[in-house]
């Protein structure tokens, strides 16, 4: 299995723990990921607010590069990138005017975007291409006793994802269970973390992150697992501000890929738990048999 890999800006910046943990996990599962040649920023949500034509063209450049590379499946781990690339595909299919504008713009640099590539999320690939059975086979240190609140955030399931339910997604739940973790049921799975409002309008934005952290603790979670660099940033890096404004809500937020690395028994520098501000409670010692297997 080989995928074109679109990391996006966050995975090279504040969200580097996502990339640092996802790449080894995928490699461990025998998945090849080839970083897209000279990719550019997808445009995220901010660009849409300025000019949707340019936003689509910028995103389409990436899709065009992917098509040129011959890899039809584009793996976009960041939720915003996943949404924007998907949205671009939809716009190009649904609106002939937009398709024309973008095609002409790409033509000036000799690129073509036919809209044939599929934009995929790692969760989609893990469950539907690789399969939970293959994942389970790689688990050497089951996350026994670890209570995880799966947090999907908004943009991977809404509004374009087809691989999971938009209101009550379960792909990460099933993945975490395969890793041996206990999944905490909570109704905030897909609630907004505040997005970029945590920086621009902290009173409104941070409150949403605060509610998530508070409710996860209340439901007995040890850790929150996320799929989005912005969610992780908001729930992790803003802890001091949230404690100062409301109350301390000390619960770590990690990427699901970090928990996978942990369960696969990958070395610490591939699990990169040290990137989080709130330390994760150490796991129970591995069962002797499992330890021997390692």
């Amino acid at each position: 299995m080989k995928y074109a890999y679109f990391p996006g800006c966050s995975l090279k910046g504040t969200g580097k723990a996502y990339e640092e943990s996802l790449l080894p996990v995928m490699k461990h599962l025998g998945v090849e990921m080839q970083e897209l040649d000279d990719w550019n920023c997808c445009g995220a949500t901010a660009y849409m607010a300025v000019d949707e034509g340019k936003a689509c063209a910028a995103a389409a450049r990436n899709l065009a590069i992917a098509e040129k590379s011959g890899l039809q499946q584009v793996l976009a781990p960041c939720s915003a990138c996943y949404l924007v690339l998907n949205k671009t595909q939809h716009y190009l299919h649904e609106y002939p005017g937009m398709r024309q504008t973008v095609a002409r713009a790409l033509e000036t640099v000799g690129l073509r975007c036919e809209g044939t590539s599929a934009v995929r999320h790692p969760l989609d690939i893990l469950l539907n291409d690789i399969g939970l059975e293959a994942v389970k086979q790689k688990v050497t240190r089951p996350l026994k006793g670890l209570k995880v609140a799966p947090y999907y955030g908004c943009q991977i399931v809404r509004p374009y994802a087809t691989f999971d339910d938009q209101t009550n997604p379960t792909t990460m739940d099933r993945l975490l269970e395969a890793l041996g973790a206990t999944v905490v049921k909570w109704p905030l799975k897909t609630k907004c973390c505040g997005g970029s409002l945590t920086g621009t309008l902290p009173e409104a934005g941070l409150r949403l992150s605060y509610i998530l952290l508070k409710e996860a603790i209340k439901r007995g979670a040890d850790v929150i697992a996320t799929v989005c660099p912005l969610c992780q940033f908001n729930l992790d890096a803003y802890h001091p501000k949230i404690s100062a404004r409301w109350e301390p809500v000390p619960i770590p937020t990690v990427y699901f890929s970090q928990l996978m690395g942990l369960a696969f028994g990958l070395p610490d520098n591939q699990v990169v738990l040290h990137r989080g501000m709130i330390p994760m409670k150490p796991l129970a010692a591995p069962a002797p048999a499992a330890a021997a297997a390692r």
């Binding site: 909570w186 109704p187 509610i211 209340k218």
Partner: protein
């Protein structure tokens, strides 16, 4: 034929239909243009051709101007062809010397350019003029009507239709899928807006049906096959094995307490899963017929798999205490098999009803996730004195400190669940506003709880309905205009702890609110039965895009279908309340009686026949006929058509390689001249 010698004298009439046609088509210009065509003796335009004077005009012209063909350009032939054929006949001509041009539905109503619409009308008129020249005198066939009627579905619609017919002396077969008739109405506690008890008004009618000499009641039965046509339907009914001999069961129900299962432990569908029943059960106390049923899926006597024919294998594991209790009545028969019955009827009334929307399809409202979220039908059973709790409203989850079940102190009723939503059902289900208010009233009466109704628009169009709304306002029920965003169980404030929280925009106040409640009721909408598609095919009806059965005309033929002799009543045609359902059932019964009392139906003489000398005997046509109306004379090596079986589709005519089959009313020459006519414009 002598008609060939006769000079063609066509009378042409173009109808203004008030402004309906005249505003988009220049009727005078059309008449003037047609006037010049060969064979046309006169061309007139007139305000309303279908009116009495319009018809009289045709009759007079036939006599005074010796017309021998009539063409009317007006509305759709499906609406008024019959009218004008009548006028033609009254004028002394064979009615099939008439042809109709549709310049309203197919022209003036769908186009926006007057000139183009006028040109189109001229071309269509010319086609008809050319066509009618080829028309022949035909005779209408009269086919006798079988006087018996089949009513499918035993809800209030089917009950009322069957009773109406039976009281008029007609023989009725009432077929119901469930073990008892009564339908959804039997589950209701009270009915809006009068709040009379549903059981009190329904059960007398049910038992009347059960005992009426003119009604053959077959419950626990499915219609499996329908053949024939208006007046002469042959229907196959499968009577599912209920393992009880209906004639022998007295309804004493002694078997039920004596079942080897001491406690009821199987899901009770009649109580919407809120109660339990045994393998041998009667759906509800007033069930009609008063005959028990044995559920082979759970009865110990059948726990041995299936026979090759699909029937369950009877085992000897069970002590059969039920049989003992039944004693010498001997009504229990474990070897009973499904039985196929064949009946002949002349008319069919379809009253197959609706199903309620599956609330789990709106995950944001938490049905299935939070136990204290209920559907409206569950609440109907919960407030019902003969329901699973004896009419006590208690929560599924949560106990009082003393361990007793909790009653809700605050209740939110969410309207329009599954309705008015493009993701689920786009239609308004019509009854939910009213039944939600009814439930609000009943819940208030039972619990004295704080009640909130969340609605998008309040729809109370009915006699006494708005007054009922007023009554609820007086009772202090809160009405919040806003579609609920979500129901969750996470608390932001101390008073929200342990409650279900409804988040909604109070659109009239213009604020977003969070309202904690103990119980949420989802006013689920109505949707077509899951097997409506199969039923539709069975009876050769049409469905609208939304899945409801389609009436022949939304205003003028609301209980007719496109198939003669098949009528509709009740919610299978679309959501409606009980008064409307009953009115429709009466109307359908009356429509059936029209046919029965007339005694015959007239059949379009559009059957096909074979020109003997032309037939090459290739047999291409024979397998094409779905009615096996085409036979082959082996001796003469010629095909021939049994006119009685021919339905007039013309498929064989279109396929005959030697053009030796002719369809009356749709002869090749008629259609070719029509093609020529419609292409006669520039």
């Amino acid at each position: 034929m002598s008609a060939k010698k006769e000079e063609l004298r066509i009378g042409f009439y173009v109808c203004h239909c008030g402004h309906n046609i005249a505003s988009m088509v220049d009727c005078v210009a059309v008449a003037r243009s047609v006037e010049k065509l060969p064979g046309v003796a006169l061309a007139r335009d007139y305000k309303y051709m279908c009116s009495d004077p319009g018809q009289v005009l045709i009759q007079q012209d036939i006599r005074e101007h010796k017309l021998n063909r009539i063409v009317v350009a007006s509305c759709s032939p499906l609406l008024h062809e019959h009218t004008f054929r009548g006028a033609t006949e009254a004028g002394g001509l064979n009615p099939f010397y008439f042809h109709m041009v549709n310049i309203r539905e197919h022209d003036s109503w769908v186009h926006t350019d007057r000139q183009e619409a006028t040109e189109k009308a001229k071309a269509l008129a010319e086609a008809a003029i050319r066509r009618v020249a080829h028309h022949k005198a035909l005779e209408i066939k009269k086919v006798p009507i079988h006087p018996d009627v089949l009513v499918v579905g035993g809800g209030i619609a089917g009950i009322h239709a069957a009773m109406t017919l039976a009281n008029a002396g007609k023989k009725v077969y009432l077929v119901e899928r469930e073990p008892s008739i009564g339908g959804h109405m039997a589950k209701f506690d009270k009915t809006f807006p009068t709040l009379d008890c549903a059981a009190c008004i329904l059960t007398p009618k049910m038992s009347e049906v059960g005992s009426h000499p003119n009604i053959t009641l077959w419950t626990y039965s499915d219609v499996t096959k329908v053949d024939g046509y208006v007046g002469n339907y042959t229907v196959q009914v499968k009577r599912k094995a209920r393992y009880i001999i209906e004639d022998l069961c007295t309804g004493c129900q002694d078997c039920i307490p004596n079942c080897v299962f001491k406690e009821p432990k199987f899901t009770d569908d009649f109580n919407e899963g809120l109660g339990k029943r045994k393998p041998v059960y009667i759906p509800f106390p007033q069930a009609t017929p008063q005959v028990v049923v044995i559920d082979p899926e759970v009865c110990l006597n059948f726990k041995r798999g299936k026979n090759p024919d699909g029937s369950p294998i009877v085992s000897d594991k069970c002590k059969k205490t039920c049989v003992e209790a039944c004693g010498e009545k001997n009504a229990i028969d474990f070897t009973q098999k499904d039985e196929l019955k064949e009946i002949k009827v002349g008319n069919i009334i379809v009253c197959t009803g609706f199903k309620t929307f599956d609330a789990g399809r709106v995950p944001a409202y938490g049905y299935g996730t939070y136990k204290n979220v209920y559907t409206s039908l569950e609440i109907e059973r919960l407030v019902n004195a003969s329901g699973p709790t004896g009419g006590e409203v208690i929560l599924r989850e949560g106990k009082n400190p003393d361990g007793s079940p909790k009653t809700p102190k605050s209740i939110g009723i969410i309207h329009c669940v599954g309705s008015r939503d493009k993701k689920t059902n786009i239609w308004c289900s019509r009854v939910c506003c009213m039944y939600s208010m009814k439930l609000a009233h009943l819940l208030k009466e039972h619990t004295d709880a704080e009640l909130y109704n969340f609605y998008i628009d309040m729809r109370t169009p009915g006699k006494g309905y708005e007054e009922f709304y007023n009554k609820l306002l007086e009772e202090g029920t809160h009405f919040i205009r806003g579609r609920v965003g979500e129901v969750t169980d996470w608390a932001m404030t101390p008073e929200e702890e342990g409650k279900l929280v409804i988040r909604v925009e109070d659109t009239l106040a213009g604020v977003v609110r969070r309202i904690p409640v103990d119980m949420v009721v989802l006013a689920t909408g109505l949707e077509p039965q899951a097997d409506a598609g199969d039923v539709r095919r069975l009876f050769n009806m049409s469905c609208g895009g939304d899945g409801w059965f389609l009436e022949r005309h939304p205003k003028l033929a609301p209980v007719n279908t496109f198939t003669d002799g098949v009528f509709l009543a009740g919610c299978c045609q679309g959501p409606k309340d009980i008064p409307d359902t009953v009115a429709q059932a009466g109307a359908a019964a009356a429509e059936a009686m029209v046919l029965i009392d007339r005694g015959y139906v007239e059949q379009e003489p559009n059957t096909a026949f074979i020109l003997d000398q032309e037939c090459s005997g290739c047999k291409s046509c024979i397998p094409l006929c779905p009615y096996t109306a085409i036979l082959f004379d082996e001796e003469r090596k010629k095909a021939y058509i049994n006119e009685a079986l021919c339905k007039g589709c013309g498929t064989c005519v279109g396929a005959c390689p030697s053009s030796s089959i002719v369809q009356n009313l749709f002869e090749d020459s008629e259609i070719f001249s029509e093609i020529e006519g419609v292409l006669s414009y520039d």
